[in-house]
Symmetry: C2
Subunit: 348 residues, 2 copies
């Protein structure tokens, strides 16, 4: 039987509160399904980075470097300021970012979209996570008229091919409809590579219906007919924007989990939301994003679909009974971060 | 009394159909308010561009070049493929793109957002239109592993300052709440210039409440609480995406007008939507986006607020009676493009 490793990195802000609930769910599920998992705690954060110039301690980094080619290992991540997460993603080459955007039958009312009352949303964003403009070359300077600055959107075919392949595989396992989101009418060379690679790779997936769509149109369609779409493939920036837009259409960023994987299957699992300093330390944060990230960890790291679904079902049940502050609604008890954790645990 | 000039450029696809209705409204309003306007017809389009390498005929270009410093002149534009519109915007330096995103009291039902039933949306996007990555330096090449390509997001402080000033002025005349949309956490140098310029220029507008917000968060907030926002200032790309997202939250891109102005006040007025080849020539397109663009033309080119409001009120009345195919709804007569034009005209 395989031995699994989960590194808990709560980080800062609401990170510690939501990862605490994720950890409880993880331990309960490991016990229930007899999953042999080694769980360890690690510090990560902006403060630490500022003080030591390291985003992880030497010990943690050594451990991660050991595990980074191990598909049976993953990080359950909370939240940190912007700098360290970008560095971690790049360092471990976590190029495949998976962001399911779905509504739960018990919580259709939390979506601001009227149409969701009738039909659930079940989208899946596949975002390229370690290249593109966020990691692009910067230059800056000034002239008599003032300052100027530039940053380059850059992709190499190899970076494109691997994420395209991931997206096709995901689509193959889902409803087999893939939309590649781009802006090739004005960013021609870069997106032509994506279009060509998609075209070539798609031949190996004859069952997958492949489309391409301009990002502006996609943003509109996600609001007008989200139920039509299945898998969305996007570059780093467009995937970033569309996944938060996804948080809008399902009702709260506190509901959205994510998985970021490298070529070996080593992964980092985290809420799509950030540190939320305004509500940190108040037990107001919604832990569902982290609890669903644990479900993704079960699926991708443990290869345990049944455990993943058990968590997802428990979340649905919990949402039918109570809501955290972000989703407070008449007819539902408002609970704390830990209160929501309790409900999910008892529904497990 | 001033003499005004309006150049009609219907272009292709649904462009000819929607501009025909815009023209009827323009002529009616000019007659009603005794506006002395010279209206001329001009060809523009991809076909023409492909054949002659010119996006406008020599005559049209000469006329435009004459008028481009005239604040009393404007183009009422239909739609063309992507290439020519980008060139026109750049050639006439139409850097200020104004995109109002609003619901109409008579048509709250067309928005997919449940919240709109209670409170109308009245957002105003100020988008930089002639710089940024869409006009950035491109490079491409290949190595042993494959092809690569890059395109640069670039802004000079002078390009930033003029659009920031426009946005502050717009906010000053509206509800005085400005949100600058950016991604300065990962595109640092470029957006630092924007933030610094905004900070400096905002001192001259002490009544305007200035905020900055990350683009991903903005996309989410636009869906979750669109009524909270007033003016959004964005670079070319983010403004592009957010305005189509705006089309989503109000229910149809067929409702959204725009004005693109240069430093002299010369302007191009057009629907936010494109040529829509799938419905072209069928009298199915919604002409309201163009009719509202005529209202913007009245406001910006004629300086005639009363005429602008008369058109906007007429649109509201027409929407209370009938809808084009994009917004077909029970209880409302479905009308053709010209049918909607008729209703607006009779409500004028
Ligand atoms: C914190 C930030 C750098 C990050 C990103 O843009 O990638 C976040 O928005 C996300 O989506 O994970
Ligand atoms: C046609 C295209 C180049 C254009 C743009 O992206 O600027 C359009 O989407 C718009 O928003 O006016």
């Amino acid at each position: 039987m395989s031995r699994y490793h989960v590194l808990l990195m709560p980080g800062e802000g609401i990170g510690t509160e939501i990862v605490a609930e994720g950890e409880r769910v993880l331990r309960a599920i490991a016990e229930r399904y007899k999953i042999d998992v080694d769980i360890s705690q690690h510090l990560v954060g902006e403060e630490q980075f500022k003080q030591s110039g390291r985003y992880l301690s030497v010990e943690t980094e050594t451990l991660c470097d050991e595990l980074k080619t191990n598909p049976n290992a993953g990080i359950l991540f909370g939240a940190v300021a912007d700098e360290p997460i970008g560095i971690l993603r790049k360092h471990y080459d976590l190029f495949t970012n998976l962001r399911p955007i779905r509504t739960f039958s018990a919580a259709a009312d939390v979506s601001p979209l009227c149409s969701v009352r009738e039909r659930e949303i079940d989208l899946y964003i596949v975002r390229e996570l370690v290249s593109g403009i966020y990691y692009g070359q910067m230059r800056h300077g000034s002239d008599a008229a003032g300052r100027w600055a530039g940053q380059e959107l850059y992709y190499h075919e190899t970076e494109v091919r691997r994420i395209v392949q991931q997206a096709l595989q995901v689509a193959q396992q889902r409803r087999k409809r893939l939309h590649f989101v781009h802006k090739g009418n004005v960013i021609k060379d870069v997106f032509q590579i994506w279009l060509d690679v998609l075209h070539a790779e798609a031949r190996r997936f004859p069952q997958v219906e492949c489309h391409d769509i301009l990002v502006d149109n996609m943003a509109m369609q996600m609001v007008l007919k989200p139920q039509y779409f299945d898998v969305l493939l996007a570059c780093n920036t467009f995937g970033d924007i569309l996944s938060d837009l996804g948080a809008g259409i399902v009702g709260s960023i506190g509901l959205l989990p994510s998985a970021s994987l490298n070529a070996h299957g080593f992964g980092l699992f985290e809420s799509v939301g950030g540190t939320a300093p305004d509500i940190a330390g108040q037990q107001k944060a919604n832990p569902i994003s982290t609890i669903l990230s644990v479900a993704m960890l079960c699926r991708h790291t443990f290869g345990h679909e049944m455990a993943a679904q058990a968590i997802e079902n428990a979340v649905n049940i919990a949402l039918s009974q109570c809501r955290t502050a972000d989703l407070a609604a008449e007819g539902y008890e408002t609970v704390s971060t830990a209160g929501m954790g309790d409900r999910v645990l008892s529904a497990l």
